[in-house]
């Protein structure tokens, strides 16, 4: 059995878990935990809080897998649960920077090595990228991370964020535009083109 159960549908894995197959839960965790953590980190901007929220989402799934109904994609449902948990965590931690209020302070990003295609150390590129992502407007950042990192479709992003399809398209488009204008000069200087 492969690590993330690639090829096995989410519904099938959940069904196996409901019947007592703990390995199926592990596969779901490995399939989604990185995407959820990255998404939540984009929302709460604090690795410890993102860690805690991600765990809570999987605890909820472990305790009540029947909470997901096949009327929505499992991926979008799981991200929606994570979104609510992240917003709850932000509410109970008023000092934490939230979804809408942005600053340029970045959490420590543990990086090492060289980013392919840039010819520069991963540290530099990742810090630049992280800083630029942090400066995006909240809805744009959320939509971009859901698309690029969580690999959700536009429709799924609408489900998770509650925004219209037109807004989601616009958010992603503007987010990329801003990142390009901010980062392209750095990438060109470091040999991307």
């Amino acid at each position: 059995m492969n690590e993330t159960g690639i090829g096995t549908s989410d519904a099938r894995l959940l069904e196996r878990y409901r019947k007592g197959d703990e390995d199926a839960f592990t596969q779901i965790f490995r399939r989604y935990s990185r995407r959820l953590f990255g998404y939540v980190l984009g929302l709460v901007k604090d690795p410890d809080m993102a860690d805690d929220v991600t765990q809570k989402v999987f605890i909820k799934l472990a305790r009540r897998p029947e909470a997901w109904r096949p009327t929505a994609s499992f991926a979008s449902w799981l991200h929606t649960v994570a979104r609510h948990a992240a917003l709850d965590a932000l509410k109970s931690n008023p000092r934490q920077v939230g979804l809408e209020s942005m600053d340029t302070a970045s959490p420590a990003v543990p990086v090492a090595g060289e980013t392919p295609g840039t010819g520069v150390s991963g540290d530099s590129v990742r810090e630049l990228v992280f800083g630029a992502i942090q400066r995006l407007e909240g809805a744009q950042r959320e939509a971009l991370v859901l698309r690029e990192y969580s690999e959700l479709s536009y429709r799924e992003i609408c489900t998770v964020t509650g925004r219209s399809l037109a807004n989601v398209k616009q958010d992603i488009h503007q987010a990329r535009q801003q990142l390009r204008s901010e980062l392209a000069p750095h990438l060109e200087r470091t040999g991307t083109r």
Binding site: R18, F37, P47, Q55, L144, Y149
Partner: protein, 254 residues
């Protein structure tokens, strides 16, 4: 078309959100547009960097810590919540519940003795229930009774889920029908108490169980494949076996 329109189309192109016709149109444009090709190149690098940045933040020990938390730090399990409700509510099993349990044991025993129950799980349960029948009546401990009720229901549903037809393609559900009738009467009493205490979790479970138990109990004689498939589908759709299993000490981990 303005270049801003092409740029918006480019975003949907790179996300695979264009229909085949529009994608072909955009690819034609791409051949002659240096700006769009450049934007796609830069976005690819930025996308890769975004992945690496978030990957680098991912805590490697998250899975092991989650396992620890699931094992004991994630708050009360359904079984514990049930116990707390019963203890704090000073809930005691009403006599009819115990009576119904005894009746169920007798029915199960008779059915088993006449050889009409083909499933091992039901036979085993009947034996265990018969052995402990007097204890149930004497102890009358609410939590134990209700966990027992849920466990017996789960055993019934498991048997139904794995039922096999006889050589004529019919399913002999005599034992299951008799059990379901007895279980329904027990659930009615539990439901009354759960309603007065506003226990939504228990009420939701009882409601979902009743749908299956009523369907099962109202039938008569052998069932055909379609009827059994509907019952099995109802069990699966409502995740009933899993939801019942989490109230079992041996399975639920309490």
């Amino acid at each position: 078309m303005t270049h801003e329109r092409w740029a918006e189309m480019r975003t949907r192109y790179q996300d695979g959100e264009l229909d085949p016709e529009t994608r072909e149109l955009f690819e034609s444009h791409l051949e002659s547009c240096e700006e769009c090709r450049h934007a796609l190149d830069v976005d690819a690098v930025l996308g890769q960097a975004l992945h690496e940045t978030l990957e680098a933040c991912y805590p490697a020990d998250l899975e092991s810590r989650l396992r620890q938390r699931l094992a004991g730090e994630a708050g009360p399990t359904p079984l514990r919540r049930l116990g707390e409700w019963l203890r704090h509510g000073e809930f005691r099993v009403p006599v009819p519940v115990a009576a119904a349990a005894v009746l169920m044991i007798i029915v199960t025993g008779i059915v088993t003795l006449t050889g009409r129950v083909g499933r091992d799980s039901l036979t085993d349960t009947a034996g265990r229930r018969a052995e402990s029948g007097s204890r149930i009546v004497e102890v009358a401990d609410a939590e134990q009774e209700i966990v027992s009720l849920l466990t017996r229901t789960r055993t019934l549903l498991l048997a139904l889920s794995t039922a096999h037809p006889d050589s004529s393609g019919a399913y002999d559900l005599t034992a299951e029908r008799a059990l379901s009738r007895n279980l329904i009467s027990e659930y009615r009493i539990l439901q009354t108490r759960a309603e007065s205490d506003n226990r939504a979790e228990i009420l939701e479970l009882i409601h979902d169980l009743e749908v299956i138990l009523l369907d099962l109990s109202t039938g008569d004689g052998p069932a055909d494949a379609r009827q059994v498939a509907m019952l099995q589908g109802g069990i699966t759709d409502r995740s009933l076996i899993y939801r019942l299993s989490i109230y079992e000490p041996a399975i639920g981990g309490d």
